[in-house]
Amino acid sequence: MRRALAWILSGMLVLPLVLLVLLSLARHWTWPALLPADLQLRQWRDLFADANGLGTVVLRSLGMGIGVAVAATALGFASSRSLARHARQGRLLALLHLPFAVSPVVLGVSLLYAFLRLHLAGHLLGVMLAQLVFAYAYAVILLSGFWNPRARSLEELASSLGAGRRQVWLHVLMPLARPLLGVCLFQTFLISWFDYALVLLIGSGQVATLTITLYQYFSSGDIRLAATCALLLLAPPLLALGLNQQLLSATIVTHLEAHDDD
């Protein structure tokens, strides 16, 4: 019974991926066929031959994601240390959740004007900055779980053994936090890589990312090309999943949990 249920659940988890692969290879797949009539690589070829080259789009999305991840993690690591020592930690934590509460769409429409004023709208950098608002908040929340009393003692120990500020960060804190920093880098990368609303609004159509391309194909009615894009979108997280499940399991909530433990 349990075994059967486990199998069914596994099937349901794999099915979407199979479906995407089939869609990306299908040429005709009309009702009521259960499987596509003919499979071929045409969509993949079309996709990589299409406007501005999908290669550029993928590279741009990757670049944005990496940039946002590095900035968010670096700034977030430093800020989370201050947060952990701050007397009004609870209030600051509430502030950090604000962007997530008001949602990217609301933030996007309300900030577009300011971003235009600063010549940031429609630019890669502007979109990255908007994504950074979310990625940074996420990083601070995630990484503040690192600063438990033990980490603090190790930090003090190192400085009492003669390590300067820079040495403490470089030789103690960063190596200690490395697994968590890896998770943070990856998760903040995904915030940018998966983002659609902010690119749509702040990018004002001038920054073509993989999600924008996917939506465009979807809205032009060609779900097969959209599915092909979707597979590209899933590739990095699935790859990471193969390497290390921890990378994906971290969530916005790890910190909240950590706090309840205290």
């Binding site: 040429r27 005709h28 009309t30 009702w31 009521p32 045409r42 079309d46 996709l47 031959a49 299409d50 406007a51 501005n52 080259g53 577009l112 004007y113 235009l116 004023r117 600063l118 010549h119 940031l120 709208a121 429609g122 630019h123 950098l125 502007g126 900055l129 004002s204 159509g205 001038q206 073509a208 924008i212 391309t213 465009q216 194909y217 979807f218 809205s219 032009s220 009615g221 060609d222 779900i223 097969r224 090309l225």
Partner: protein
């Protein structure tokens, strides 16, 4: 601590500086220059063109054909960004509000309400079309070209392509499609759940075509917006919808949001009809495998809309000369002929073939043959002009209120 402050400050400064780069001076207005001056001013510039990016065929035409051509012949780099319709209006409007002196866009692919709205906020540059050498081939007497939704384009838009609204069905399932509203209603009753239309641009255009079918006088929808006529025809259209409603897809409780969704429903076999505002699209869709080979396009004999789509130049563009050179290339016989081919795009030409030099005339005569839609010649008699843009705006709003109960 101070070092940290400094580096944070520097970071902010870099971000602002990196984005704040704007051309320091505005170049001369090309309208005061002759064509060769415009051409030399255009050389080396980059033109950013906003266009719908959802069709791989169109993207390929722009990227693989137009962009290399203008690069080679005129030294212009063409940058394509995906934005359309309301999005362009929005972007330009927000730019105006934010006090941006120089727009991020130079050339925009627009028509209808987009043109109307951009005109309202003075976001378009013009008149400029008279400066383009290739505009001599355009038949400015053709009302489908000289008027964009009843508005004279007056040199603020350059016609680029011309299309007609078609219904598409699968002849394997519907061997003889209905060609007027009454027959269509009868078919819907006989086949519940197999017909719908979208609530986007194409679906609303279909409803406007129905307004023509219910019009008493051919001139009813001509000229500026007339609220009384509009309301009379609108009520007839809504009455028609109410009469078939329960037999529509999902009992008429919901409608697909876009032609894309409708295409998808049709491709899946969930409904038997879709529609397209590009009479060349069906061949292209069959060719790409999305539609079955038995898909055929047809028109309502009570009339369907025909319109043109245009390119406009943004008033705050700093690359107007280059934008004009690109626009001129887009209406060159070579570019228009290429675009006519259903394998490339299948978009109708705006050129008057009779005015072209002899060799081009022959090429146009044999080009653009399509197998899944009737030839343009055959459906031209059913073509109707777009009513005033307010009709679209009002109809969209009324449809939302009366039919969707928003």
């Amino acid at each position: 601590m101070r070092r940290l402050w400094l580096s944070l400050g520097a970071l902010v400064a870099i971000v602002i500086a990196a984005c704040g780069r704007t051309p320091s001076s505005t170049p001369a207005d090309p309208r005061a220059q002759d064509w060769s001056q415009i051409q030399s001013a255009a050389r080396g510039q980059t033109v950013t063109m906003a266009m719908w990016g959802g069709d791989p065929a169109i993207n390929a035409y722009m990227r693989d054909y137009v962009a290399p051509q203008v690069k080679r012949a005129d030294g212009i780099t063409l940058r394509l960004v995906p934005a359309q319709g309301s999005m362009i209006v929005n972007m330009l409007m927000t730019e105006v509000e934010a006090g941006r002196q120089h727009s991020a866009l130079d050339l925009v692919w627009i028509n209808g309400e987009t043109f109307y709205q951009l005109h309202q906020i003075h976001a378009l540059y013009g008149p400029f079309t008279a400066k383009l050498p290739n505009q001599h081939y355009i038949d400015w007497n053709n009302p489908f070209i000289a008027y964009d939704f009843q508005q004279p384009v007056d040199g603020y838009e350059m016609p680029w392509g011309n299309v007609q609204l078609l219904l598409i069905t699968d002849t394997a399932r519907v061997p003889s499609p209905p060609t007027d509203p009454a027959a269509l209603a009868a078919w819907i009753h006989a086949h519940p759940g197999r017909f719908t239309f979208d609530t986007g641009f194409t679906g609303m255009s279909f409803l406007k075509s129905l307004m023509y079918a219910f019009a008493d006088r051919p001139g009813d929808l001509r000229g500026p917006f007339d609220a009384k006529t509009y309301r009379r025809l609108r009520d007839k259209v809504f009455a028609w919808i109410d009469s078939v409603r329960t037999d529509l897809w999902h009992h008429g409780e919901t409608f697909p949001a876009s032609t894309a969704q409708l295409h998808q429903l049709f491709a899946n076999g969930e409904v038997d009809f879709t529609m397209s505002f590009n009479d060349g699209e069906v061949d292209n869709r069959v060719d790409s495998g999305l539609f079955p080979a038995t898909a055929r396009a047809f028109v309502l004999h009570t009339g369907t809309l025909q319109n043109s789509h245009y390119v406009g130049i943004v008033d705050r563009s700093v690359h107007k000369a280059a934008a004009m050179v690109v626009a001129n290339f887009l209406i060159s016989p070579a570019a228009q002929l290429k675009k006519l081919d259903p394998a490339v795009w299948g978009d109708g030409t705006v050129l008057d073939v009779a005015r072209l030099p002899a060799p081009w005339r022959q090429r146009f005569a044999v080009a653009g043959t399509r197998t899944h839609a009737p030839l343009r010649r055959a459906i031209q008699p059913y073509a109707r002009r777009e009513p005033a843009p307010e009709v679209m705006i009002e109809l969209t709003r009324d449809f939302r209120e009366r039919i969707l109960h928003e």
